[in-house]
């Protein structure tokens, strides 16, 4: 006997839908409109100015640098967090005596606030800081850098701190994925004469795709939305060398150029959607076919 769908009343969706729409969807949609206006703190009227804000974004050196830095940060952290996370997960899926405690240790930084980690790293990354002193004491003095004050490397330093903090989170998701693979698959493969690499490529990798999928999405989207790491570690400096889209939005907000700020946000919105949605569809398809 089939019961009517009507019994599942749509009223129960309304509270969630209302909160989600009012505080997330409406700002996102009005943001699209405001990014084509000259909305400013110190002006009464709001005028439609076409693509002027976007033209400014693509001709302003600082704004272009912020976009470049955001992309560097996103790509570097996607690669770093996933490679290290996957390596840790595979190693900690082996029968090691200390694996439970090691898992907890590698995971633990990711539960702390980005603020905490960034402040702890600030004094260690100074020119005469702990990290350079360690390099010098083991004879690797040539590796020491002005981590947070050299405009050429500062964004890479911020990315490295983020990888340090969050690779353990990716590890936990890969571990969960690894543990869902039945052990007898590997036994069967060994009996059939498959080596370790062959087993990894033919069993682990395809069955790990859902975990890989979610991890790539999480790190990529999180990377493009980066704000707190940069805000606390460098504040966008030295000069504007480590500005990212997130810190530019805060700066525009502070300066009262709200139209420009929302335009920058619209650009981020477009970038995330253009990159994330095809990737999502592509990986879903691959998952089904394997």
């Amino acid at each position: 006997m089939k019961i009517s769908r009507k019994l599942y009343s749509y009223y129960l969706i309304l509270p969630a839908l209302l909160i989600y729409c009012v505080f997330f969807v409406v700002p996102a949609l009005t943001g699209l409109y405001y990014s084509f206006t000259d909305w400013r703190l110190d002006r009464v009227g709001i005028k439609f100015i076409g693509w002027a804000n976007f033209e400014r974004i693509f001709t302003d050196k600082t704004l272009l640098l912020a976009i470049k830095n955001t992309l560097i940060f996103a790509v570097a952290t996607v690669i770093g967090k996933n490679l290290i996370g996957l390596a840790l997960a595979i190693a900690l899926n082996m029968r090691l005596k200390t694996r439970n405690i090691l898992r907890a240790v590698f995971y633990s930084p990711s539960i702390l606030s980005v603020l905490v980690i960034s402040i702890v790293f600030t004094p260690m990354l100074r020119s005469e800081g702990t990290i350079n002193r360690i390099f010098e004491s083991v004879g690797l003095g040539f590796l020491s850098q002005s981590w947070l004050t050299d405009p050429q490397i500062v964004i890479w330093t911020v990315a490295a701190v983020s990888v340090w903090q969050h690779a353990g989170f990716q590890m936990a998701i890969y571990l969960a994925g690894l543990q869902s693979i039945p052990k007898d698959y590997y036994e069967a493969a060994t009996i059939d004469g498959a080596g370790a690499w062959r087993s990894f490529r033919s069993i682990t990798l395809p069955l790990l795709l859902p975990a890989l999928n979610i991890n790539l999405m999480l790190t990529l989207i999180g990377g493009l939305k980066v704000f707190s790491e940069v805000f606390v570690l460098t504040g966008g400096g030295p000069g504007n060398a480590s500005q990212v889209v997130g810190t530019i939005i805060l700066r525009s907000f502070g300066e009262g150029s709200w139209g420009l700020g929302t335009a920058v946000n619209t650009l981020l919105f477009a970038a995330v959607t253009i990159i994330a949605i095809p990737l999502l569809i592509f990986m879903r398809r691959k998952e089904v076919s394997e």
């Binding site: 969630a16 909160i19 997330f24 900690l92 200390t98 702390l112 980005v114 702990t130 805060l250 929302t262």
Partner: protein, 276 residues
């Protein structure tokens, strides 16, 4: 060398390497913890060493000068209420969305799912909140967190509710129960573990966040712990022992939650990893 012994050697090697690597994670944390007990001269070396004298008084100073007690309660209020609102609204929505399976409900599911991807538009959110007349207040922050976490929670609940057989609802409906009582009497007891997972994941992300308080909490008496710490860090940039003590105190609530609720965190991660 036979196969088993080769495997054993490999494991010892991997384990040794991992223990060395774990030092990279542990040492910076120890610098912070030991530093929080030092005096303000010793701490400036930023090296790994036990404090020559243990200054527990740093923690008292931080509490008095950093306004941490106030910030702790603000954080608890914000995370608690936004978590509760999020759990009730998202689980109810996920219940209907997964049971209906019509074009409209599938569209709504994707509509919520977009929230996992799209970045929030902060400046226009401020305008919306101003229109309601509560910009700068704790209320605004609670609504914003409840809204920001809807996508994640609906996604997590949907995966779980799909695995609950529909036959359970049908029996209740036949006996004349309404949608609400089926949801509260049949579904809610079954999804209690998911509630715990959602509560912990949302709690951790809200507690640790500085972005939303930075934009939306204009009055320092409303600040949460991370924002107070950030402000303290700016003001007391010479007293690193106090800064470290402040950081340890901010981290304690999430660390305690992690130690006692690991099981629920793992099940949340598993849902993501297995269902993608």
């Amino acid at each position: 060398m036979n196969y088993t012994r080769k495997m054993a050697w490999r494991n010892v090697l991997v384990e040794g390497f991992l223990i060395l690597a774990s030092l990279i994670v542990i040492l910076p944390m120890l610098v912070m913890i030991f530093g929080s007990f030092m005096n303000n001269i010793e701490v400036m070396k930023f090296t790994l060493r036990l404090p020559s004298e243990w200054h527990f008084s740093n923690y008292v100073t931080v509490f008095q000068e950093g306004g941490l007690a106030r910030a702790f309660w603000n954080g608890l209020l914000i995370t608690g209420v936004s978590c509760a609102a999020n759990i009730v609204t998202s689980s109810a929505a996920a219940f209907i969305l997964t049971r209906r399976d019509t074009k409209l409900s599938n569209f709504l599911y994707m509509f919520f799912f977009m929230g996992l991807i799209a970045p929030m538009s902060v400046i226009t959110t401020i305008r919306v909140v101003q229109a309601f007349g509560f910009y700068g207040s704790i209320t605004s922050v609670i609504f914003i967190y409840a809204s920001l976490n809807t996508a994640f929670s609906v996604f997590l609940y949907s995966g779980f509710i799909r695995s609950i057989p529909k036959a359970l609802d049908e029996v209740a409906f036949l006996e004349g129960a309404g949608t609400l009582s089926v949801f509260f009497k049949i579904i809610t007891p079954l999804i209690l573990p998911v509630n715990a997972t959602v509560a912990i994941m949302v709690f951790m992300s809200v507690w640790n966040d500085i972005t939303i308080p930075l934009y939306f909490l204009t009055d320092s008496s409303d600040w949460t712990m991370p924002l107070s710490v950030y402000n303290f860090y700016g003001k007391f940039s010479r007293d690193w022992n106090l800064i470290f003590a402040d950081l340890v105190l901010t981290s304690l609530p999430v660390l305690i939650l992690y130690l006692f609720c690991q099981k629920y965190i793992v099940s949340g991660l598993t849902a993501g990893a297995v269902k993608g």
